[in-house]
Symmetry: none
Subunit: 120 residues, 4 copies
Amino acid sequence: MFWKFDANRPVYLQIKEQFRSAVLSGQYPPGSRIPSVRELAISAKVNPNTMQRAMAELEQEGLLVSGGTLGKFVTEEQSIIEAIRQKAVTDAIKSAAARFRELGLGMEEAAALLVQQEEV
Amino acid sequence: MFWKFDANRPVYLQIKEQFRSAVLSGQYPPGSRIPSVRELAISAKVNPNTMQRAMAELEQEGLLVSGGTLGKFVTEEQSIIEAIRQKAVTDAIKSAAARFRELGLGMEEAAALLVQQEEV
Amino acid sequence: MFWKFDANRPVYLQIKEQFRSAVLSGQYPPGSRIPSVRELAISAKVNPNTMQRAMAELEQEGLLVSGGTLGKFVTEEQSIIEAIRQKAVTDAIKSAAARFRELGLGMEEAAALLVQQEEV
Amino acid sequence: MFWKFDANRPVYLQIKEQFRSAVLSGQYPPGSRIPSVRELAISAKVNPNTMQRAMAELEQEGLLVSGGTLGKFVTEEQSIIEAIRQKAVTDAIKSAAARFRELGLGMEEAAALLVQQEEV
DNA sequence: GTGGTCTAGACCACT
DNA sequence: GTGGTCTAGACCACG
């Protein structure tokens, strides 16, 4: 798990986003145990409380379930995961579209730049 | 000029982004006078100090030039504007691409969703 | 605002309960500004962070709305307040009933003891 | 014996309450042998240490007496049982009354809701 | 001064 | 060892 933070947004929100993405992209399969809060905090070079807050919110969101002293686990309910994925993708697209529109960039143009960027 | 702020990022940064976009998209042509900080602050429902800070940074960036007691003006130097546009577009694309990649979304897929979104 | 905490349950949860009750019982009318988090923390002899957490959750619940740097306010939406009151009362009744049942106490019996207790 | 735990309070305290209630409501008559700590722990899906701690405290309270290698038994002294019952009922009533009062709920009103709840 | 975030470090219960 | 809570104290953005 590699972390990258932008200084201008709350770290715990960025942790939520990135960890959610990690789960959605299959890095932590449904039902699997995730690393302990303390380990994750170390890997992200962040205070355990900050990591704890992020994971607690992902738990409240339904993506994670707490196994008490056994650690935290990715939910086994595929429907929840799928719903979260849908929302994440839609949000990302909407937010990018809004930014492009703000810049006066047409969607086809933006789409072309995106594809082209990948080829680099 | 319509403003939309996200609670989780410094307002003055969002003002910079949005005002810069307004200039780049031609809403304020090169050489034109922009509204006073006071007026902009009211339209954005923001403290004048906050607006002042944002405009000062856009001035330092070269996009705006101060006309002393006459107010602030958009720079007339096309090269500066063009450079800023390039950077803004590139940043927006890169940032969107990074987010999509994080979500395990292919660029072609994302591009398709973007175009499709416009049709809605 | 007077606070009373039970050592065996998280303080922030008890703060939520008690403050919610204070609002529901009209101590803080709809739309009114509540004391600052720092003041409340002092009055409850609790760390500001703990109070902050409790108020943030009441905000998420919809009972409070944040006025940014102006402080926090009780929501003006009567419907939300009413819904929260309903839930609070129902929960309290259910929880008491469960406890009484556990003790083999009939509801009529318990009801009598409750009324009698008030007369003391 | 059916167990139900609230995540926000120490499990051993909840075991004490529920087992005490089970005895008071006659599920384990005076002088009868209770299941082994190991069995109880399994039925409650709880660590034996946790169950052990709860039973030890009930023993110290006088409700249970240890029969050495024969297991634990409910005390045969009716006076003790009666005293514990009194305290348990009084505590439950007081605690419910306090909660209702906090919510601005009159005792007659609460009593009515309690009785009504039973009919459902 | 206000809300909000973050760090550092401690303590508790135990799924 | 793990999740969870709490304290103490600091910093930031905003007004």
